[in-house]
């Protein structure tokens, strides 16, 4: 793979600067030859934002036949740089290695929305597929003119168009010029419309193959320029001294110790120490005396469940069918239980880092690993009161964010913007581990009151799920808020139900109490404990409660948990993934808990199963676990996931995403909990917020259920949802004890078994 930099961009800019002239912009000028935001600002000329309906925005066909494809989406480690290139090369009929993707550089890439919610392939990939099909049709029409052969008699192999002995390559046809679509591209609320029809899947040569990921060799050679590695000429290093409490404001800022090589910058409540050398900034930030106001608006780790129930909330009705109350009252037996999930961290291994260069001419360049460069661009324009056309956001690889850099874009970059503006030099803000653990927007804590009524034969006649959810969509950025810059009110964060109802019962009531952020009511800032999208937000918590509770009902009815589910389901894709997971895992059909279940004596083993539909993808998991009641230790031995994601683009990349979901979620379920006192988060490092270790890694098997005729759906999140309840159910099978409050730490397990 070649570099991500737009070919020609740098040298062209150098040339333009040397010549002092500016190329006139029009759609006819290839994107790579248009001026950058910086050049436009320097010349006082407008900057043309790349248009989604302009074919030239999407691709450049170079004279040698190489193709540059531009996407607003970014690589987060899930392999979408490779999968998107596979889809594009397939539609264009070119070989895979001629296609290079430019991702998330707002000067040149189209705005395709945020890279999140497993949407890259399902939405941006499908869009790219249509545009690439249109590009191919456009190239064929050019070839038809050139070769004097009707399009219907042309064929394309590896970027060469031919008819009998007549042939011309894409490169010869275009040699870098801007392409104009043969049928205009239309994008409306219904989606993207093009004249061309993409290939039928039966003709795929590249899609469906485990093409090696194009980013991996560089990551192994340490040649990937992570945002943390970028150094801009003249750049200063900064560490931000964040407030003592979530709602604390500055009372006073002292001075750095004599001999410090650093400098203090204060803008309202944004306090930072900057220096030429990073270590001087770190030392300075540690030594700087800052007095903050006391603020004690949080309910504490122990107190939040009761506090959340007491906060007045809006109620969202997810499902209301039949008459739950009467059916529950008339049921021959009933079941009630409360489930709880903690506040969690995204836990990026590399803490947030962003670089900003705010220049005197009013133009801005920001380097960021945000999941949404276009969103960050607009956010920066708003906070500086300038137009988006004056801002360029250049995406660079970062530490896996799992939603941390989606709605909130990039806190560190937003702080760097103000520091750079103040200092007139590029500034790099690197958060400390403590900054990240405390100030990242966390995963929300939730509560779930579950009720079910059964008739005499064990059928569920009444089902209620009453959820209390801290927000999962905070979209604030710390920089402008701390600097005291008024931003248009971000949407009021609320907790939302996500995901379809898995089972249809005759009488159902499903409610979400949408709680505001804890502490927001008394904070001087427009947030409390910031909580936002964390891998499969909402559905992760909902599915834990529902699938574990379904197991409780199956146990009450004395039925095998797999058979119990199969009886409730009619969707053939759902049935297929459950059966596939069970078959591969060697599921033992029997009711839980097993006969030998015990909480005394030595290690006991159990099995658990769970199912979900997430963003159109069907996933089922079987977990096998060993439980040692005396120590409270849960060890996952084998985890099997079967998944139907529609069309498979890259099987190995999907399998890797599934194991990523399994391992990361096992960590969340077994170990993770954000703790806080009345003032702030107290789990500020990896020892107070531990992650799963390699010696706790289970053997993971995956089954990809083939379904090539169905459009592809997401693979980054579905398997996350099936792990928590499958673990809870495996422990129940082994011990007869149901764990309903995450995390299932040794202490919690021992307490539950006592």
């Amino acid at each position: 793979m070649r570099s991500q930099q737009e070919p020609g961009k740098l040298s062209r800019r150098g040339l333009l600067k040397a010549g002092g002239a500016l190329v006139v912009m029009s759609a006819a000028v290839p994107v790579a030859l248009r001026p950058s935001v910086a050049e436009a600002a320097a010349a006082g000329a407008p900057f043309p934002t790349p248009a989604l309906t302009d074919l030239a925005t999407w691709l450049t066909v170079h004279a040698d036949g190489d193709i540059t494809w531009r996407t607003g989406h970014v690589e987060l480690g899930q392999g979408n740089r490779t999968a998107l290139a596979q889809m594009v090369a397939e539609e264009l009929d070119v070989s895979f290695d001629t296609v290079t993707l430019v991702m998330g550089d707002t000067d040149v890439t189209p705005d395709q929305g945020v890279t999140a919610a497993s949407s890259t392939i399902a939405r941006a990939g499908q869009q790219a597929r249509l545009i690439a099909a249109e590009a191919r049709a456009t190239l064929l029409s050019l070839a038809s003119d050139r070769l004097h052969v009707p399009v219907s008699r042309l064929r394309v192999d590896n970027g060469v168009v031919s008819s009998g002995r007549k042939r011309v390559s894409y490169g010869q046809l275009v040699h870098g010029k801007a392409l104009t679509a043969v049928t205009p591209i239309v994008i409306d609320s219904q989606g993207t419309h093009v004249g061309a029809t993409p290939k039928p899947y039966t003709e795929y040569k590249l899609v469906g193959r485990s093409v090696p990921r194009v980013d991996i060799a560089d990551k192994v050679r340490q040649k990937t320029g992570f945002v943390h590695d970028i150094r801009v000429p003249g750049m200063l290093h900064a560490r931000v001294v964040h407030p003592k409490g979530i709602g604390s404001t500055v009372v006073s800022v002292g001075s750095l110790p004599p001999g410090s090589n650093a400098q203090v910058v204060r803008l309202n409540n944004l306090v930072a120490v900057v220096a030429e050398q990073e270590w001087d900034a770190i030392k300075g930030a540690a030594a700087l005396p800052v007095t903050w106001s006391d603020w004690n608006g949080l309910p504490t780790t122990e107190g939040w469940p009761a506090a959340m129930r007491a906060i007045p909330s809006k109620i969202m009705t997810q499902a209301s069918k039949g008459d739950f109350d009467s059916a529950f009252a008339a049921a021959s037996s009933t079941l009630q239980a409360t489930y709880q999930t903690p506040f969690e961290n995204h836990g990026m291994i590399g803490p947030s880092c962003g670089i900003a260069d705010v220049r005197p001419d009013g133009s801005v360049t920001v380097w960021s690993s945000t999941q949404y460069p276009q969103g960050l661009r607009n956010g920066i324009a708003t906070m500086l009161g300038i137009s988006a056309e004056q801002v360029e956001v250049v995406w660079a690889d970062g530490s896996g964010p799992y939603g941390r850099l989606s709605a909130n874009y990039d806190d560190a970059a937003s702080e760097a913007v103000f520091l750079s503006q103040q200092l007139g030099r590029p500034v790099r803000v690197q958060w400390s581990r403590e900054d990240e653990h405390i100030w990242e927007p966390h995963g929300p804590g939730t509560l779930h009151d579950m009720s079910a009524g059964l008739d005499e034969s064990g059928n569920v006649v009444a089902w209620k799920h009453d959820a209390f959810m801290a927000p999962n969509n905070d979209s604030t950025m710390l920089g402008p808020i701390l600097a005291g810059v008024a931003m248009p009110a971000p949407r009021k964060p609320v907790g939302s139900w996500t995901g379809p109802d898995l089972y249809q019962f005759p009488n159902m009531l499903e409610l979400a109490h949408q709680i505001p952020e804890l502490g927001a009511d008394t904070s001087p800032y427009p947030f409390g404990i910031r909580t936002t999208f964390l891998r499969s937000p909402g559905q992760y918590q909902i599915t834990f409660a529902q699938e574990a509770f379904v197991d409780e009902i199956a146990a009450k009815a004395g039925q095998d948990p797999l058979r119990f589910r199969l009886r409730l389901l009619t969707d053939t894709r759902a049935i297929a993934v459950l059966k596939a997971a069970a078959r591969r895992a060697g599921w033992e059909p029997r009711p839980s808990p097993r006969k030998e279940a015990s909480t005394s004596g030595g290690t006991v083993t159990g099995q658990g199963i769970a199912f979900v539909v997430r963003d159109g993808t069907y996933a089922a998991a079987v977990v096998k676990a060993e439980v040692t009641p005396a120590t409270g230790k849960i060890l996952l031995t084998e985890v099997t996931v079967a998944q139907d994601q529609g069309q498979i683009i890259n099987p190995r990349a999907i399998e890797r995403q599934i194991s990523s979901c399994v391992i990361q979620t096992a960590s969340r379920v077994l170990h993770e909990e954000v703790t806080f006192d009345t003032s702030n988060i107290t789990s500020a490092d990896w020892s107070s917020y531990p992650l799963l270790r390699m010696d706790e890694t289970p053997t993971i098997s995956t089954v990809l259920v083939p379904n090539p005729g169905t459009p592809p759906t997401g693979v980054g999140e579905p398997a996350v949802n099936v792990i928590p309840s499958a673990i809870s159910s495996a422990v129940f099978d082994a011990t007869g004890v149901r764990l309903r409050t995450m995390p299932f730490t040794p202490e919690a397990v021992m307490a539950a078994m006592a």
Binding site: L76, G77, Q78, G79, P212, R213, D215, I216, A217, K219, V220, R221, Q222, T224, G225, F226, H228, D229, R231, Q277, E278, W279, I282, G347, M348, I349, G350, P351, D397, G398, S399, G400, Y402, Q430, S432, R433, R652, R656, S659, S660, C661, V662, I663, Q664, S667, D685, W686, S687, L691, L692, R693, M694, D695, E696, T697, T699, I700
Partner: protein, 167 residues
């Protein structure tokens, strides 16, 4: 005050202040971006390098504590392999080769430390069992090596593959 180190086989004199943790000297002064900042608390392993004393975290200990030592980062692994094999040069160390074959990295941020610890493990135990691999990454250092993307199972396979390639 200048401090002498041998970094990736080359004698180097660095001028960062002696209390600077080695990580910032490698990344800042020497421009080696392989070792990563993950915690600054010796709690994650992202900053690991090979030193004369074996795999070491670099985010806390000052550069002065490494004076005179041989320091190898992932960037220096191919040359280290070439030297060990007495061949003119190597494009990749077999550990890197195994990492590519097994397609280990997701985001890749933690992988520097994972490859360094593999080099350290295989130097003392050319044919480790799965349990020995798990121990090396979980309990043998100042902390477990952390990967948030969930690549542990691929790392185990890649360590075994690297052992084969190096045999």
């Amino acid at each position: 005050m200048a401090i002498e180190l041998v970094v990736n086989g080359e004698k180097t004199t660095v001028t960062s202040s002696p209390d600077t943790p080695l990580l910032y000297v490698l990344r800042g002064e020497l421009g080696l971006s392989g070792p990563k900042f993950g915690c600054g608390l010796e709690q994650c392993g992202a900053c690991s390098v090979l030193s004369d004393a074996g795999a070491r975290r670099t985010c806390v200990k000052p550069v002065s504590a490494f004076e005179g030592q041989n320091i190898t980062t992932v960037e220096g692994l191919p040359a280290l392999w070439a030297k060990e094999q007495d061949i003119p040069e190597a494009d990749l160390h077999p550990i890197q080769q195994a990492w590519i074959e097994e397609q280990v990295p997701q985001c890749g941020y933690c992988q520097n430390g994972m490859m360094i610890t593999t080099a350290n493990l295989l130097a003392g135990n050319p044919n480790p069992t799965v349990d020995e691999i798990k121990t090396a990454f979980s309990t043998s250092g100042p902390s477990a090596h952390l990967c948030r993307c969930g690549t542990y199972d691929q790392i185990i396979k890649a360590v075994q593959r690297a052992a084969e390639l190096m045999a």
